[in-house]
Point group: C2
Chain length 292, copies 2
C-alpha cells in the first residue's frame, strides 16, 4: 500500500516528528511505500491567494470557487498543488501529524488543505455541487488518520472537560475536511501533555502509536453517516427516524460504533436526546500521565 505522511512541525525532536518517524518505521517494516510531505521543510505556501490561479477565468474578480474549478478542470493549477494532489491520488492512506494550536491545525497545514482541496476533486466532485460528499468524492477509498500532539492534559478534553472533547473539537477536520471528500477516518490518536512529556511518557505514547499505525488498515473508521446512504433523504438534514431527538455534531456518527454501555443508556431512554461521547481508541491509548 501507499501511505502519505503529512506533517507540520519544524523541530526534529518534537513529539509530532517522533510520531512521524515511528509511523514511517512501522509502515516500511510492513512492506508499505511511505511518502512524506514535510510542510515546514518544503516551505509550503500557506496562503491561498491570486497566485494560485496563474490563468484566470475572471481576471477582474477573484472568486476562489470559480477559479479553483477552472484551474483544476483546465490543468492550470500551480506545480506545488499538483504535486500534493498526485501524492494524495496515489495514497491508500493519509496520516496528518500536527501539534494542536488553538484547537486546530497550524496555519501551514490549514493552508495545505485550503490550496490542495480543489473544486472538482475535494468538493464539487464531478462538477455536481454537493451531490457527492460525506463518504464519496475525490478521495473515496482512502483511509485518513490524525496524529495530534496536545499541549494540555487529557482531562481538559474529557467528556465534561473544560476545553470540550477532542473528538468534537476536531470534527471540522475529521468530518468536514476528510470524510467530506470520501475518506474513511480512523479515531484520532492524541498524545496529551506533549509540552512536558518525559522520556517514559514519550515511550509509552510511542508504543501506543506504533500499535495504531500497525492496524492502519484494520481498525474500524469512525462511523460517520454517508450523505447518500439513506440517513439524509434531502442531502441536507437527518431523517426524523435517524438519531431521533438528537442534534449537534455527534448525531452524525452512527450508534453502531458506541460502546455497549452507551447502547444500554440509549435503549433506556428512547427518543430522548443523549449527548453521549463516541469513545475512540485514541482516547484509550493516549498518554494521560501528565495530567496537570
Amino acid at each position: 500500500m501507499n501511505i502519505l505522511l503529512v506533517h507540520a512541525h519544524p523541530e526534529r525532536t518534537s513529539v509530532t516528528r517522533r510520531l512521524v518517524e515511528s509511523a514511517a518505521q512501522v509502515l516500511t517494516g510492513q512492506g508499505h511505500e511511505v511518502v512524506r510531505s514535510d510542510l515546514y521543510a518544503m516551505r509550503w505556501k500557506a496562503v491561498f491567494d491570486a497566485a494560485d490561479f496563474p490563468v484566470r477565468v475572471d481576471p477582474g474578480r477573484l472568486s476562489f470557487v470559480d477559479e479553483s474549478r477552472h484551474a483544476y478542470a483546465g490543468g492550470c493549477q500551480t506545480a506545488d498543488v499538483e504535486d500534493e494532489q498526485r501524492k494524495l491520488r496515489a495514497a491508500d492512506a493519509v496520516i496528518l501529524h500536527f501539534p494542536l494550536w488553538w484547537f486546530g491545525m497550524p496555519a501551514i497545514m490549514k493552508g495545505w488543505v485550503d490550496r490542495v482541496w480543489a473544486y472538482g476533486l475535494a468538493y464539487g466532485y464531478r462538477g455536481a455541487g454537493n451531490t457527492h460528499r460525506y463518504g464519496e468524492g475525490g478521495f473515496a477509498g482512502k483511509r485518513a488518520l490524525l496524529a495530534v500532539a496536545v499541549g494540555g492534559p487529557a482531562i481538559d478534553y474529557s467528556p465534561r472537560g473544560i476545553n470540550g472533547p477532542l473528538e468534537q473539537l476536531l470534527f471540522p477536520i475529521t468530518h468536514g475536511t476528510l470524510f467530506f471528500p470520501g475518506m474513511q477516518v480512523l479515531p484520532t490518536f492524541a498524545v496529551y501533555g506533549a509540552a512536558a512529556l518525559d522520556a517514559a511518557g514519550m515511550a509509552e505514547a510511542d508504543a501506543a502509536w506504533r500499535g495504531r499505525v500497525a492496524r492502519l488498515f484494520d481498525d474500524a473508521p469512525i462511523a460517520f453517516r454517508a450523505q447518500n446512504g439513506g440517513d439524509y433523504p434531502d442531502r441536507h438534514v437527518l431523517a426524523d427516524h435517524v438519531a431521533p431527538g438528537r442534534s449537534g455534531l455527534m448525531a452524525h456518527i452512527a450508534e453502531a460504533t458506541r460502546s455497549p454501555l452507551d447502547a444500554v443508556k440509549i435503549a433506556h431512554a428512547p427518543g430522548v436526546a443523549i449527548d453521549c461521547e463516541h469513545r475512540s481508541a485514541g482516547d484509550r491509548t493516549s498518554h494521560t500521565g501528565n495530567r496537570r
Copy 2:
C-alpha cells in the same frame, strides 16, 4: 470606543469585504475609532516558525511555548506581531471577518492567531500556566464577534443539518481562541449561500449585519462558563451539579441564555442529557433565502 476589524479576503467585492465596509461605516457613524488589519493586503506571514524568534532562549531546539514565553516577556518578538498585539490591547472590541473554508478560518487568519496569541498574553497569562483562562486573561474586558461568509446553505448548518451546527463547528474559535484569553464573545453572524448571493440577498444580509454591528456593545455575549466562576472547581472538569448528565461542547454554555422553550424541555427532564442547541441572534437574522 476602539474597534479592531481583522479580515481575510483579498477580493474587494467579496461578501466578507462588504461586511467589513459596513461595519466600518456603522461604527465610525457611532463615533467609534476603527482600526483594520487587512491580512491579505498586509501580506501577513501566516506560518509560525523559527523566524518568529530572532533571539532564542534555546537555539538548539525549537519549542514554540518556551520561545513564545521568552520573546513576549523579553520584548523580542517581531515587529508585525507586536503591532497586532498593540492594536488588540487598544481595542474594546474585535471583529474577525472571514470566509468559512473547510469549516474554519483561512490559513492566513489562523496564522494571525498562531503568531499573535503569545504565551504570557493569550495563554500562560502572568506566567501562571492555565490559572487564568476562559473568561479572564490578557484580553479580558474586550468583546469579540465573528462575521462569517458561508458558501453553503443554512439548512446544512441547522441543528440536524449534515455539516453540523455552525456554532459547534466554530467552538474552537469562539470558545477556544477568543473566550480562552478572556474576551466576551457575541453570537456569530453568518451569511449563508455567500457563494451565490444575489443583490437582494446581499442587501438583506447587509441590513441584518448593520443591526448587529450597531448593537456590538449591547448584545449579550454567549454565556460560556468562566473557568474560575465556580463551575470548574478543579479548573479542568465541570462540577457534577453543573449541567448534570450533559457532556460535549454545549455543556460549556450556561442554560440561562437558552430560549424559554429549551428551558421548558430541560425542566421536564431533570438529570437527563439534552443536546439542545444554543440559538444565537445570528441564526435568526442571517440570510437563509438561498438555501439549496
